[in-house]
Point group: C2
Chain length 192, copies 2
């Protein structure tokens, strides 16, 4: 058997999600996940450092993927558009796994520890977008704000997409969120 096998990593993620959904994150052990995926506990640690990281498989590649997508966006694209386009590419890749995404989000929502880890991931996403926008020549304050805004938009789009069980695709959800943001900002800010 290969030392690292993508099929096994995939099975571990699936097994972990099932077990966390059935018994709650706190009540599941690495041994149980490994067993359900048909490998030993010892082999598990070739794939993930602990029982938390299996839920964040691939997220270490997210910042670099987003950075590249933002940098490669059309030269004339505005900061926010470049960021949203990059997030759409990544979000659409996620969209292949609607059941898994929805289950993952439910598990995370029930655990403060996992929420903390998820926030760290989002902060890395925001930083990656910000850096890429700076590289595109966007000024500092604008790059930071556009990156934060794009991250919030993608979070809410993912919420809507998961809540709708993928009925609308991710891009449609993101467009709806952008429309809502625009409404919140144009109708609502002027003092009463």
């Amino acid at each position: 058997m290969a030392r690292w096998d993508p099929g096994t990593a995939e099975r571990l993620t699936q097994a972990a999600l099932e077990l966390y959904t059935e018994h709650g994150y706190d009540n599941v052990t690495v041994t149980q996940i490994a067993e359900r995926a048909g490998i030993t506990r010892r082999s598990y640690f070739r794939y993930f450092a602990d029982k938390r990281e299996v839920l964040f498989a691939g997220s270490e590649r997210l910042p670099a993927a987003l950075r590249a997508a933002v940098v490669d966006a059309h030269p004339a694209a505005s900061p926010l558009y470049a960021a949203l386009e990059a997030l759409t590419q990544v979000g659409t890749a996620l969209a292949e796994h609607i059941d898994r995404t929805a289950a993952r989000r439910a598990v995370i929502a029930a655990s403060p520890e996992l929420q903390e880890r998820e926030r760290t991931k989002l902060a890395m996403v925001t930083s990656a977008i910000e850096e890429a926008l700076l590289q595109r020549g966007v000024d500092g304050e604008k790059a930071e704000l556009a990156a934060r805004l794009a991250t919030v938009a993608s979070q809410s789009a993912l919420d809507r997409w998961a809540a709708g069980r993928g009925e609308n695709d991710f891009e449609t959800c993101l467009q709806a969120v952008v429309t809502s943001l625009r409404e919140l900002l144009t109708d609502d800010v002027a003092p009463i």
Copy 2:
């Protein structure tokens, strides 16, 4: 001596900020902070659980204060306006301590552990605003999005305010951020 004295809590915060700025967060001990504030290490723990929490003094009151301010906003205020008004009240209270706020932000920016704690605080801020908006009868998706948007706006406003050493007041910074957000969303989203 009183078992809990606000003047002492204040001195501890000041001492911790000085020491963290001088030596770096990782290199300072509770004993050093207590000594500089003129109390014993043992007394320190009447005030704060550890050396991290001294930087978050009062933040446990933030969610309730924001929730009340959002609920008490003018009945006709829109969701985002109610949230921004509440954050302005709280931000303006912070504005009395510009030096401390700027120092605190610099210390946090240098430590992943503190950034994590700060993100947890911000997540509580977002949740508090969201709950208060729901209480005002705002629908779920809109309440969540408005709360996230308001949190991002206040973060960026605080950045600008601290970077400008308080030259413009917090409310002015927040208005500028809202203008930038509106520009990002209106000029920039349409596909190129």
